[in-house]
Symmetry: D2
C-alpha cells in the first residue's frame, strides 16, 4: 500500500510516524510504503521527506492525488482543504485516510461521503481517540453490558493556548479557515466519542462565548489564507468562539453535556469524560490516558468504588502489541493503532470506523450546536 | 441567645450538633441556649430533645415561634414549610436561621425577605458549603485577584440514591413538597456558590430529564403530605426531574455550566467545581473537602501545575479553631462555622451571607432554569 | 460513668469533645458524665472546665485519681507522666482511658499492665487510628480473607513541623520527656496498626537520623520540665532523632517497612500504608482518611485495579452513626468512636483493644528499633 | 554510526525502536545505521532483522563485535552475558550502549570499566529512567536549589508478575543468571536514580525475603542456561529473593529507603519516589510518568501544596521534541532520549551518564545490600 501524505506539520509528523511504526509493532497484512509527501513550500517539504523517509515529494496536491503509484491519500492539512482534496482523491480511486474535523459543513461532508461511495474507495476519518486503549476498553465494557442503561455523558475538552490576549490571530481563530473554534476542533472529538460510546443524538442546546474578541494580526500566516478584517492598529476580529458548551439528548434516553474551551488556564490538552449507567460508570482523562476509572454497581455493598484500571495489559485493546503490562504508551500511539486498523480494513475489505459517514453525523451535530447557540434554543438534529 | 429548632431529622441533628459545638471551638460573644425543639411526633421529638439536650419541646411550630423565651428560630424542615414558618417567626420578632432551599418559588422568597426586613429580624440561609474552609479559601484567592478575570465556572453535583427503580416515591420526588428534583435540592447549592465565587447571573439555558417516571408509593411517608397520583399497582408518577443541566451567562462575562443529578452511580455526594481565570484556576471536590486545587498562571514557566492545598492550616478560614495542620475536618463542621458566624453577626449587628436576599436570587435562577427547560430556550434572569 | 480527665491541651480538647459527642451519635448503654478535669495551671484549667462543661477541676492529679466520684481516669498528658498516673489510678480502682504512646519504656508498660490486671480495672490505649472507618474496613477486608496471605506492609508517617532550624527545643525534642522522636510519637501509631492488621513482629532493623542537632531553648516550656543541656548562645542539644526508619519481619512471613519523620516538607500529618497480599491489596492515606484503596486480585482479568472505596456508607464501620453516605467525617471522630467502644466495653464487661497489653508490645518493638539503630544490626523481639 | 545490536527480545525491540526513531524527532549530528542484529536462534533473529530493518544478522556475538563495519555495540541481553561481550567489544574498539543491570558483581563491573577506558571507547549504561522528562525535570529542580538540603529519599519499585506460585522458574529467578531478584533488576534503577538525584551513598542496611521458595521448572528456558536444582515433581528451588528492602545513608546527610518487590499485587510496574528537602519536595510515579509532584516550601503561607507539573511543555527536558504541550509520551521514549544523547556524546566526544563508572557504583551498593541482608547488619560502602 503506497501512501501519499498531504501536509507535514504537527499532523504530518504524527501520521508519518504512524505509517513507519505500525508494521514494526502490529502484524499487518501489507506494509505501508511511504511514497510521497505533499506541501506548498518546496524547501520545507523536501526536508521533511528526507527526514521521514518519504520517497518523493510534491508541492501540488492535485498532482499528488492523480499519481498512479499511490493507493492511499492521507489528508493531514487544515479542514478547509479536506473537501476538495477528498473529492479529487476519491474520483482518482484512492482510498482516504483523513484528519478531523472532516469538513467545513455538512453539505461538504455529505458530498465527500457520496463521492467516496460512488467511487468505491474506503474512507477513514481520524477521530483518533477511539483508539486510545483505555477508551477502546470503555467501549468493550459498555458492549458487554457492564454499564447497563446509560443515563449521563459528561465531558470537557480544555486547553489554554490562547488565553494570552496578545496571542495572534492564527488560522484557528478565523471562521473562513477553521469554520468555528473549539466547537469544531475539540467538540468534534467529543461528539465522535459520544456517538461511539453512548449512541445517536436527537437534539442539541448550546451556548458559546468569545472572551477575547480581537487579536494582533499574525506577521506570517501559517495557512496563507488570512482574510481577517482589520480593526486598526494591527488588530483584527476573532471570528470564532473561544468556548462552546452543549447539552444533548441521546435517542436512547441518555443526556449529555459537552464543554470545549481554549480558555482553561492550567489545562494543556485535558479531555475528560464521565459515563453513568444503571449497572456501572466510567470516567477517563486524556492527561492520564493509560487509565480508566471503572465503577461496578454490581459489586458487593460496602466494597464499591471507582477502580483505576491501568489499560496496559495484554488483553486490553491494542496495548499487548507494545510493552509488558505497566509500561505506558503515549499520544502518538493512537495514530499507529489507526493506521494498523486502516491497513487491515483495506486489505480485508472490511468496514472501518469512524469514517465519512460518522464524520457527516458529527458535523451535523456540531452545526446544530452553532445554530442553537445563535438562536438560543434547543435544536432537533 | 435562645434557640428554637423546628425539625429533628437529618438537618435537625446537624443543627443541634452545631449549636452545641460552636461555643466549644469558636470564641462566641454569646453562648447559644438550646431552648426548644419542635416536631409533630411527640414521642420522637421528646426523645430527640432528651438526647440532644434541648430544654423543652413543642409539637406545634406556631406555638414555638411565639414563645417569648426564644430569640432565634432555626428552620430545619422540608422547604414547603419554610415560607409559613419564616413569615410567622419574623412577625414574632425572631431572628431566623433557615435551611436551604429557601422556598417553593421566588414570590415566597421575596415575601420572606420583605417581612424579615420590615420586622427588623436577621435572616441567614444555610447554603453551608460557603463555609467549607477550602471553599472559603477559594473565595479569598479570588478576592485577592489571584484568579484574575474569570472565564469559566463548571460544576457538577452528583448523587445516586434513587437509581434503583424500586426506590419509593419519597417526598423529594414529589413536586408539591419538593418543588423540583436536583434542580432545587442540589443546584441551589451550586448556584449559591456560583453567585458567591463568580458573580451575578444574567441568563440561563437548561435541560432536564426523568429517567424513572413512576415509582412504588412509599408505605409510610416521612413528611406526611404525600399526594401522589396513583397510576395503578401501587405505583405513582414521579413529578420532579432526575437530572438538571444548566448553562449560564454571568454579568462579568464568564460562562458557567451546572450538572445536578441523582442518577450518577458511584457518586454518593460528589460536588465538584472548576474555575478558570486569566491569572489562575481553582478546582474543588466535596468528597475531598479539605483540599483545594490551585493553579497559578503567574508561576514560573515549566513549574506550573495544579497544587493540592490541604486547607487545614492555621491561616486558612475557620480551620485554625479545630486541630493542628493536617488533621482534617468533615461535613458537619460547616454547620458549626455557620452557627458561629451567625451568632457573631447577630451579636455585633453585622450583615451575614447567604441570607434571604441571596436565597431569593438563587430561587429566581432555579426558576429560570425550570422555565428554560420547559420552553427549550435561553431565559434572561 | 463519671470521667476525670487529666490534661487540657490538644488531647484534652479532643477527649472532651469525644466524651460529649459520643452519646449524641452512638447508642451508649451509659452516658459519660464530665465530672472533673485536671491541670497544673489553675486559671487555665478552670477556664477549660467552664468552656467544655466539666463539673469541677483539680490541679493535682493525685487528688483526682482518688476522688470517689470518678469511675474513669482519662490520661491526656505527655507520656512521661503516664506511668505514675496509671499506676495510681489502677490502684484506686479506676478504669483507664490513656493516650499513646503508652510509656517511657517497656518495663513501665509491663508494670502498668500488671497493676491494672491485679486491680481488675479496664485499660484502653488510644491508638485512635484503628477506629478510622476506612482502617476498620481494611481490618474487616483482611479478616474476610480478601487479602489472603500478606506479603508486604509499607507505611510512612510524615510531618514537617520542625524543619525550620529555629523551631525551639520543645518537650517533644527532649529525651527525658519524649523518650524518642518520631520513633515514639509516630511509629507507635504505625506499629499498633501493623500489629492489628498484619500480625506479630519477630525482628526489627532500624536506622535513625538527626538533621538539626541543636535548637534554641524555648522561652517557656509547655511541659515545665525542660532539662536541656545548654550549648551556649541559648542553644541546646536535641536529644531525640528527627527520622526513624524500620524494617520488620512478621511471624506470619510478611515483611514490613516504616518511615517516620518530622522532616518531610509539605506533609503536615500524612500517614499512609500499603498492604499487599496473595488475594488483594489495600492502601490508605490519612490526609484522605475517608477513602480506602482496595485491589481485588480475584477480579476478572482486564478489569483489575485499585478501587477508591469512600468509607461513608451505612454498612461501613462506625460511619452509619454519622451522616448519609458521601458526607465525610474528620480526625476528631476517631476519638468519639474510641469513647463509644470504651463505654460499651466497660458496661458489657467485654475486652477492648488496643489496651495496655497491646501498648506493651508496641513499646517493645519501638525499643527494639532504638536498639537496632544504635547497634546497626537486626534485633529479634 | 553503525550499530550492532545483541539481543532481540523485549529490550531488543525497545532499542531497535529507539535507534530508528531518534533521528526522526531529535536533531542528531549523525544518523544511526542499523547494521546488524545478533541472536542465537537464526530463524528468529533473521525475522527480527527483516521486521525492524537491520541490514544483516549474526548468530554469534563474538563475530559481531569484531565486524569492522560496526561502530557501536548495543548489549540488550541478560546481564550474565554483559561482562564477556563488553570486554570483547571494548577490545575491538567499539563504543558500548549497554542495558542494565551492568554485571553480575562489582569485580566484573570494575574490569568492564577499566577495559573500556584502556581502549578509549565510550560506554553508556542504560538506566533509562534518568531520561524520563519528569525525572530530568526533578534533576533540574534539585540543581537549581529548589529542594535545598535533602533530608529524605523514599522509593519503591513494585511489580506482581510472579505472585502466582505456579509461575515457572524463569531465568530471572535463578541466581546463576540473574545474580539476585528485585535487588538487582529493580533496585539497580532505584539506586542509579538515588545517586543521580541525591548523591553518594555511604552505608546500606537491607532486609530480603522469599515468599515462594520453589517453583515449577519451565518447560523451555528462554535463556537456555537453566541449572536449577530439582527438588522433585518438576519443582526447583528459587535462588533469588522475592523482595528487597534497603535503608541507606547518603554522604550529604540524607537518608534513604528502597523497597523492591515482585509480590505487590496490583502493581504492574510501579516505581515511585519521594524526595524531601529544606526548600522543597518532589514525588514521582512511573505509572504516571509524565507528571511530577513539586512542593515549594518557599511558597506563600496558606498557598503551599504539591503541584502536579505535567512535564510535556517545550521547556521541559526532551519533551519539546515530541508533541505540543499536554500530549503525553510513554515508556519507549526514554530509550529514544538515551540514544539521542548517546549519539551526540559520541559525536561531540563529550561525557555521558550513566556509564560504567556509574554502573560500578550501583553494583557495589547492591552487593552491599545483599551482604547486609545476609549478615543482618549495616554495611559501609
Amino acid at each position: 500500500m503506497r501512501i501519499g501524505l498531504i501536509g507535514y506539520k504537527f499532523m504530518g509528523r504524527a501520521h508519518s510516524n504512524a505509517w513507519k511504526k505500525a508494521p514494526l509493532f502490529f502484524n499487518l497484512p501489507s506494509t505501508p510504503v511511504l511514497k510521497a509527501v505533499c506541501g506548498r513550500n518546496e524547501e520545507q517539504v523536501k526536508k521533511f521527506a528526507q527526514q521521514w523517509g518519504w520517497e518523493t515529494y510534491e508541492t501540488n496536491w492535485r498532482i499528488m492525488v492523480e499519481r498512479p503509484d499511490i493507493d492511499i491519500i492521507d489528508i493531514a492539512v487544515p479542514q478547509n482543504l479536506h473537501y476538495e482534496i477528498a473529492i479529487a482523491a476519491a474520483k482518482a480511486g484512492k482510498h482516504i485516510f483523513c484528519e478531523k474535523p472532516m469538513a467545513m459543513d455538512s453539505s461538504q461532508a455529505e458530498e465527500m461521503l457520496r463521492v467516496c461511495e460512488e467511487n468505491g474507495v474506503r474512507h477513514y476519518l481520524n477521530h483518533n481517540y477511539r483508539r486510545v486503549p483505555a477508551i477502546a476498553l470503555a467501549k468493550r465494557i459498555i458492549e458487554e453490558g457492564k454499564v447497563g442503561q446509560i443515563y449521563h455523558w459528561r465531558c470537557a475538552y480544555q486547553q489554554d493556548w490562547i488565553t494570552d490576549p496578545s496571542f495572534p490571530l492564527s488560522w484557528q481563530l478565523q471562521k473562513e479557515v477553521a469554520k468555528a473554534g473549539p466547537q469544531w476542533d475539540l467538540n468534534s472529538h467529543c461528539v465522535d466519542l459520544a456517538l461511539h460510546l453512548i449512541g445517536d443524538i436527537s437534539s442539541v442546546s448550546a451556548m458559546m462565548k468569545s472572551f477575547v474578541t480581537e487579536r494582533p494580526i499574525a506577521q506570517e500566516s501559517g495557512s496563507g489564507n488570512l482574510k481577517a478584517e482589520a480593526s486598526g492598529q494591527g488588530m483584527a476580529k476573532v471570528t470564532v468562539e473561544d468556548a462552546a458548551l452543549m447539552h444533548v439528548r441521546f435517542k436512547n434516553g441518555a443526556i449529555g453535556s459537552f464543554e470545549a474551551t481554549r480558555f482553561a488556564n492550567g489545562r494543556k490538552n485535558r479531555f475528560t469524560f464521565e459515563i453513568y449507567g444503571s449497572q456501572g460508570s466510567i470516567t477517563f482523562d486524556l492527561e492520564r490516558m493509560n487509565e480508566l476509572q471503572v465503577y461496578d454497581h454490581m459489586d458487593e455493598s460496602g466494597y464499591k468504588g471507582f477502580k483505576t484500571v491501568l489499560a496496559t495489559e495484554e488483553n486490553h485493546p491494542y496495548v499487548g502489541n507494545w510493552w509488558p503490562a505497566g509500561h505506558i504508551i503515549g499520544y502518538e500511539h493512537t495514530f499507529v493503532h489507526a493506521v494498523s486498523d486502516f491497513v487491515k480494513a483495506i486489505h480485508d475489505q472490511l468496514p472501518i470506523e469512524p469514517n465519512f459517514e460518522t464524520g457527516k453525523t458529527v458535523i451535523q451535530i456540531l452545526e446544530a450546536g452553532l445554530q442553537s447557540a445563535s438562536e438560543k434554543r434547543e435544536i432537533e438534529v
